[in-house]
């Protein structure tokens, strides 16, 4: 009887103690909630927080590490990002999240790298971000060169022979993505007829468009990584000049503004991190997001931000610990992690994941997914 009582007591103590075994850990976010990057970092954070709540409700990362968040606004300033990263590292965060851009991400990563803290850029797409920092730095979003490879594959499949790219030296994204594309397209036998340059925010493409108009022969298509406000202005002026060549774009134009352009947007094909096709996991996520918040997500960044805690969760489950080196190795070995936009794989990459990318086509003011695939690593131009 006594021993029975003891067993019950011990059992009760065990269960009472069980929650205490779950360790609270902190994830630090040094991201831009105001300023020029807020358009990407704000929605990413919204998604990130939802996932953290869900994971905590299930018992935490790997079932045992409850997450608290330490969120700092970097105001789209690299120096502020560095300062925020220093404070977060000093506070002992176990994972660091950096903004959707290469420069502040690399600067912050250089602080978390020596502290052995795994670090993710929210949605930085420059494929060189991880290598610029070191083995604790990871990307999550479809990289520029991967997007370019998928687009080039599409151009070849369409039978396009000649192309023209429009790029801007003002950002790595607007400069390198078209260059990666040209590389991938020519490697597959296509021919580039020329390239144009624009200044971001300028909104005046009349001179560039007049030049394209003067090309003889006209290119089979025009490819650009321009996004708002440049892309709509470019497209209007392009169509305004009577140029009908189809336009290929990147994930930057995955925005309601593009479909708002009406008939001139018809025929645009662009990459995106994810598209909520009927019956897809992403559609289900959007639906539950809408139920919870009353509004549909404004952008796929909500979804990609939502995925990051789940990627971390998969790694913690594999590693069984929040210990820096072990967690780093676990992330680097992740394979086919199922997230709402598709599958993500880090194994065999330079920590810029190999992951599903969606191609969508715009027709009649609506988007339609025409392809969901992970680019063949052999086709992806070297960063």
């Amino acid at each position: 009887m006594t021993s029975f009582r003891f067993a019950v007591l011990a059992g009760a103590m065990f269960f009472a103690a069980a929650p205490a075994l779950a360790e609270d850990i902190t994830i630090g976010l040094a991201t831009a909630q105001t300023g020029g990057l807020a358009f990407a970092d704000q929605p990413s954070l919204v998604g990130f927080k939802i996932a953290v709540d869900e994971i905590n409700a299930r018992g935490g990362l790997g079932g045992k590490y409850k997450i608290t968040l330490d969120i700092k606004d970097t105001r789209t300033d690299t120096a502020t990002t560095v300062q925020a990263a220093q404070e977060l590292v000093a506070a002992g965060v176990k994972v660091l999240i950096t903004p959707c851009d290469a420069d502040p991400s690399i600067a912050a990563g250089q602080i978390s790298q020596p502290a052995q803290i795994p670090t993710f850029t929210f949605c930085g797409t420059t494929p060189t971000i991880p290598d610029a920092v070191g083995d604790y730095m990871f990307g999550t979003y479809p990289a520029d060169n991967a997007q370019a490879a998928i687009l080039a594959e599409h151009a070849v499949a369409k039978g396009y022979k000649t192309g023209y790219i429009l790029k801007s030296p003002d950002s790595a994204y607007t400069l390198k993505l078209p260059e990666y594309f040209a590389q991938a397209f020519t490697k597959k036998g296509g021919q580039m007829l020329g390239e144009g340059t624009y200044t971001m925010g300028q909104q005046d493409f009349a001179a560039e468009v007049t030049k394209i108009k003067a090309l003889n022969p006209q290119p089979d298509f025009i490819m650009t990584a321009a996004y708002e406000p440049d892309f709509p202005a470019f497209l209007q002026q392009l169509r305004g000049a009577g140029i009908t060549a189809p336009v290929l774009g990147s994930d930057g134009i995955d925005s309601p503004t593009t479909t708002g352009l009406g008939a001139i947007a018809d025929g645009i094909v662009h990459t995106t991190a994810g598209f909520p096709s009927e019956g897809s996991k992403l559609a289900a996520f959007y639906e539950s997001f809408k139920t919870a918040t009353g509004n549909a997500p404004e952008t796929v960044y909500v979804a990609t931000g939502y995925e990051i805690p789940y990627i971390i969760d998969a790694a913690v489950t594999a590693a069984g610990t929040m210990d820096g080196p072990a967690l780093r190795d676990a992330i680097a070995n992740l394979k086919d992690v199922e997230v709402v936009t598709g599958k993500v794989t880090y194994a065999g990459t330079n920590r810029m994941p190999s992951r599903d990318i969606t191609l969508v086509e715009i027709q009649g003011g609506a988007r339609k997914s025409i392809l969901l695939a992970t680019p063949n690593p052999a086709d992806v131009p070297a960063p």
Binding site: T34, G35, G36, A38, F39, D41, Q42, P43, P169, E195, G196, T197, T199, G201, Q202, Q203, D204, A206, A207, E208, T210, K211, K213, A214, E228, P229, D230, P232, A233, Q236, Q237, R239, G240, A241, G242, S255, P256, T257, T259, G260, L261, G262, A263, I264, E298, T299
Partner: protein
Amino acid sequence: MDLVLQQIVNAVSLGGIYALLALGLAVVFSIVSLINFAHGELMTVAGYGMFFALAVSLPFPLALLLAVSVAVIAALLTERFAFRPMRKADVTGLLLTSFAVSAILRVIFQNGISARPKPVPLPAGLTGVVEIGSLHIGIVPLLSIVTAALSLALLLLFLKHTTLGKAMRAAAEDFEVLRLMGIKANRVIAMAFAVSGVLAGIAAVLWIAQRGSVDPLMGFVPVLKAFVAAVIGGLGSLSGAVAGGFALGILEVLFQAFLPDAALPYRDAFVLSFVILILVWRPDGLIPAPVSRRS
């Protein structure tokens, strides 16, 4: 030849928008020595006005009217609550105030509306092309030219033929004496801000017609262009602002069109170098403001 004509149309269309913007800065600067860097945010306010108007399905012309009206209201509010209390401050103090107003408005847009761009779809008819001979002119650039010309003409009529307009021109030359005439300083200054709001609203509509969306940071590039144009023309000079706007538009289009490809990424450097040359040649701008004789 066609190419040249086409580029001239491009230059005039862009120059017209710059002229409206620069004029908005100049109207205020000529009277209160304030370079209002929040002028760009007035455009953003107009953009959001248009977005919300279209979101509740107001007819397009009404949306335009609303866009301009909210820009005017915003201009008057910033004058009343930010710039009027700083009236006695020097040029630097006023400049910093305008930076503060601009930064506060941007954060309000980002956190109060959305950090994401909001689409402002244009009626389908506006995205077309007019063919004049072998020239293709987009309806939007054409409307830009017509609107800019009309606005400039109306402003000129207002300045020449109404008491408030005359008072504004007089205030730009000698504010003290104007007050000696019994004309209320606050009214004239408020009027200047209202006019700058109208100009910002019109410029915003033309600017948005090209880009199809409004976002919290939309005003940054235009206000910089306006500032450069106003300096080229002669800070504080109204006719100078118009001249500077067109000069800047023409320079930008010319360099974009005729620079060799390898040099194109440096276009803005070429444009600004040319601006410096203009200022070396005419340090006070193309059409300098009359020197104020305030004692």
